[in-house]
Amino acid sequence: MSSLGGVRQLLRHPLRSVLSILGIAVASAMLLDMVMLSGGIEVSFAKLLLSRGWQVRVSPKGTLPFDTEATMPGATTLLAALRADASVAQAGPVLGTAVYARPSWKPDSLVALFGYGIEPGAQALYEVTAGTDLRRGDQDGVLVGDVVASRLRVQPGDTLVVVGRLDPQLAASGIERRLVVRGVVRWLYDYRGQPSIGTVLPVMQSLAKSRVQDPASVMMVRLKDSVSTADAVARLRAALPAVEVRSVEDLVVNFRERLVYFRQLALILGSVSLVVTVLLIGTLLTITVNERLAEIATLRAIGVQRSSILRQIFLEGMTLVGLGGSIGMVLGLVTARQLDAILTSFPGLPAAFSFFVVRPQEVLIAAAVLFVTGALAGLWPAWLAARAPIAATLRGEAT
């Protein structure tokens, strides 16, 4: 009995085989999507945070970076303390605050923007796509993102009027600065459509009318290559008890906790997919074996070995899994893109973030789980076929 017997048996009942393969394909597509979803959130978040190689974030006590509008006063002192640590290669402050701009074509109106105050030489927030970066201590320059550049119709060299904290009692703007657009940048952590601009930290602090307090929303820290992140974080925590020091790994853990729902959903739906696969393969093969008991008994009577029968039924199941699984993997990748497009439209989520990350190991895990499950589902019917009593079966067929 050749190994192709399993395929031939499937061809004897094309409709049921096609339906089974379709069922397994949809179930494996779901399985792949859920495997991708369960690990993709963490991978994508860690990749995003580590995209520029800064391993540590320092934020106000009890908060996550940019999770609230809380700030840390005395940024200069804090920065000096961080830079004095032997494990720190670089540290950069960031202040986030609401600011406004006056469009050149309608100077009496205001456009709400998000302002980053940064130190140009020590930042991991953006990449310059046009023009130049800010110079250190550049009090007259501003960087704009694509959204602001197109909304306010500005490009490098243009002047942008930026308005800081508004004063309702005066019915007027509290502070106003004319800044020259030095460059257009891609903000790495912005959500889609976020209108952000960046200036050096003191300018943004002035716009926020908080120069005296010298605040920062977060400090980004890059450690020296030879330093263990866990050791450095522990030392910084001990040295700076008034602020929150977290490594990217810590932030990923926090993020995982917030998105625990998606991981649990992935686990449940992935399990349901496997149950569907097991039921489909198990039912189909059991019915096939029952239908062919006489044929199997005859084969056994003329000397075909038990292992050969076992192999044929098993291969029939694996053929179903192979065909259904292959279609399912392709289907899964297509549906993952659609599902990712839905989930990444969450408000406030960085545009670079992804829920479904395609990695070879995810596809391999899904395929391996599917094949193992399919093999287990096919074993029982195959064992039933191989153990069929020859004489009793033939006698039953004859009578």
Binding site: A70, A172, L284, S345
Partner: protein, 279 residues
């Protein structure tokens, strides 16, 4: 203000209960969220120290109330702990008097909220007035996304279930080949055989649908119990509504009967000898 309020909540959370020194100024009254009170092991009448930063916990406060916050889906995933105090106390604590995050405004009867908001926005800089409906629409964006995701997953699940049901029904009916052949040999009409098989398929579909609804109710109960405990909230996470039950039942029966009819029609169209010989 929201910033500072969040910071205060965080500091309280992190610093925990601290004994009040003797002879301190009169404590301000605060109300703690139950989870915060439980975590800090605080009861009504206990005192604690508050401050805008961990190194300046200068204000003495007394717990005057412990409250259960209203269930709010927009904050359920956050791990924040909250406390309430009178506005002047908070302003004094922060050293920033006469500042607020937002005002709630009740309009005179008959006044359009959007017209009133537009008028208020023209009055001065420094704030932005929104109709409540606009805020609700903005803050429900997250749930709209989750809802769209659930619908997409539901479509995939329904496709998988439909194929599974078709396959099982086909196999179930094909299992009756021998019975159908015998019935044909003894003169039973094709229509009768098809009718009997479709009836059997319908019965299986109905039983399956009822079991499915029962399973959904149990799964929904488990889901609510787990997440309500997990997030310490009274929010309802899963609801099996009449519409959902109706949709699931009708879909199961239509698919089951459809698949059964298709398979029965194929079976009845096959020659009895062919059925008998199982070719």
């Amino acid at each position: 203000m929201r910033v500072l309020r969040a910071a205060i909540a965080a500091f309280v959370f992190l610093t925990g209960w601290m004994p009040a020194p003797l002879g301190a100024q009169a404590p301000i009254g605060v109300a703690l969220e139950r989870r915060l009170a439980d975590e800090l092991r605080l009861q009504i009448g206990d005192t604690l120290r508050l401050g805008p930063s961990p190194d300046s916990l200068r204000a003495l406060a007394r717990v005057e109330a412990i409250y259960d916050p209203a269930p709010d889906p927009s904050t359920v995933m956050r791990d924040d702990r909250r406390m309430r105090m009178h506005l002047p106390d908070l302003a004094a604590l922060l050293g920033q008097p006469d500042r607020v995050d937002r005002f709630g405004v009740v309009l005179q009867p008959g006044v359009s909220d959007s017209v009133a908001a537009a008028r208020l926005n023209e009055l001065a800089f420094g704030y932005r007035a929104y109709p409540s409906a606009e805020i609700a629409a903005g803050s429900s964006r997250t749930f709209e996304v989750v809802s769209r995701f659930h619908k997409a997953i539901a479509v995939i699940t329904i496709v998988a279930s439909a194929v599974f049901l078709l396959c099982i029904m086909l196999l179930k009916v094909e299992e009756r080949r021998l019975d159908a052949a015998v019935m044909r040999f003894v003169g039973v009409r094709r229509r009768t055989i098809v009718g009997a098989l479709v009836l059997e398929a319908a019965a299986i579909a109905v039983v399956g649908a009822v079991l499915g609804v029962g399973f959904a109710v149990i799964a929904s109960w488990v889901t609510n119990a787990y997440y309500q405990q997990r997030f310490a909230t009274a929010l309802i996470f899963s609801r099996v509504t009449f519409d959902i039950v109706l949709f699931g039942t009708v879909l199961s029966i239509v698919l089951g009967v459809g698949a059964g009819a298709l398979a029965a029609w194929r079976l009845a169209g096959t020659k009895p000898m062919a059925l008998w010989s199982r070719t």
